[in-house]
Symmetry: C2
Subunit: 198 residues, 2 copies
């Protein structure tokens, strides 16, 4: 079986983004953009955790993480990450709208999956030869994988804000037993890694 | 002004207790009792944080933290903590039902306040000479103090479980800006201390 991880930047109250996400404000109104301050302002302090985020053999993400649009595809949109996305591996994007594979520079290929998390999980497993799959977000996608019992390791990166509303990690997920594998605080974030127990 | 702290044992999804709290199961159904495993199973590892929880000059708590009952007082009930509660200072209990002061061994006196958080805050401030006040819980009480902007320091003790339902920290509290003062992981818990910014 593949080993499935998920890295999530969350507020202290468990949100991965605020309300009213737009192209200009992909993390919504209010303080949502503060969730990633630690990445941009203190990368050296957090080098190990940052490297681990993209150290997988394949990635799965929800459409909302790939694109601000909904409905039919805008073929000009190739993700938030420019020509050379940081994944360098196959990325499976959950969507209701079929689209051709989108190969990018540096080894990233976005493939668009219309069969839900089961199909995405199967295709990522095939692509990795049962290696490491990262569920890249957003909350709705991770919550589906958590509820299905498909996540082995959850890595939370907790920023010192509360958002009060938005997309919440664990919404709709039955209670979980976790094992705390590690944790440490840097100046703008606390990292905690949990193993999800079955 | 008094300096106001609050220590909270929370699940990863931000609950301080599960649903259906009873005398026998004060933290509710399911895994709620696991929130305090770190206190009972690994006190040596967490000695500093445990000491800090009761290092205040006065305490404020909600009735639900003092007593499993509701409505009129059962005069036999003197709290969960036996003859010599761990507070050793004045403790102000929020309630709608007046009751005489209840002095205990070791310096703890429970006083029952019917005027809401404002009266409790004022009386605790008088009792401490603007020293240290700890908001001892539960979530409904802390959330009221947070919403009123009366908390200076929030100390979370995060246990490796999710509860999915129950009493949630930050419910009804407008978004907060926090400063992460410190954080560390022990084997069964991660402690994070935040300063609440105004």
């Amino acid at each position: 079986m593949a080993y499935v991880t998920s890295d999530l930047a969350v507020s202290v109250d468990g949100f991965v983004s605020g309300v009213n996400q737009t192209l200009e404000r992909p993390f919504g109104d209010g303080q949502g953009d503060q969730l990633h301050r630690w990445m941009f302002e203190t990368p050296d302090e957090n080098a190990e955790e940052l490297t681990a985020i993209t150290a997988a053999d394949a990635f799965i993400m929800g459409r909302n993480m790939f694109s601000p649009g909904r409905g039919d595809w805008d073929p000009e949109w190739t993700g938030w990450w420019g020509d050379d996305p940081p994944y360098h591996k196959p990325v499976f994007v959950l969507t209701h709208h079929p689209r051709e594979d989108l190969p990018m520079k540096g080894g990233t290929t976005f493939s668009f999956v219309t069969g839900g998390i089961a199909e995405a999980f199967e295709r990522a497993g095939e692509a990795t030869g049962d290696g490491r799959i990262s569920i890249a977000g957003g909350a709705a996608t991770i919550n589906q994988f958590l509820a299905a019992g498909l996540v082995d390791e959850l890595r939370l990166h907790i920023s010192p804000i509360t958002l009060g509303a938005g997309e919440r990690l664990f919404d709709g997920v039955p209670p979980l037993r976790l094992e705390q594998l590690s944790g440490r605080s840097a100046s703008l974030v606390t990292h905690i890694t949990y193993r999800v127990l079955r």
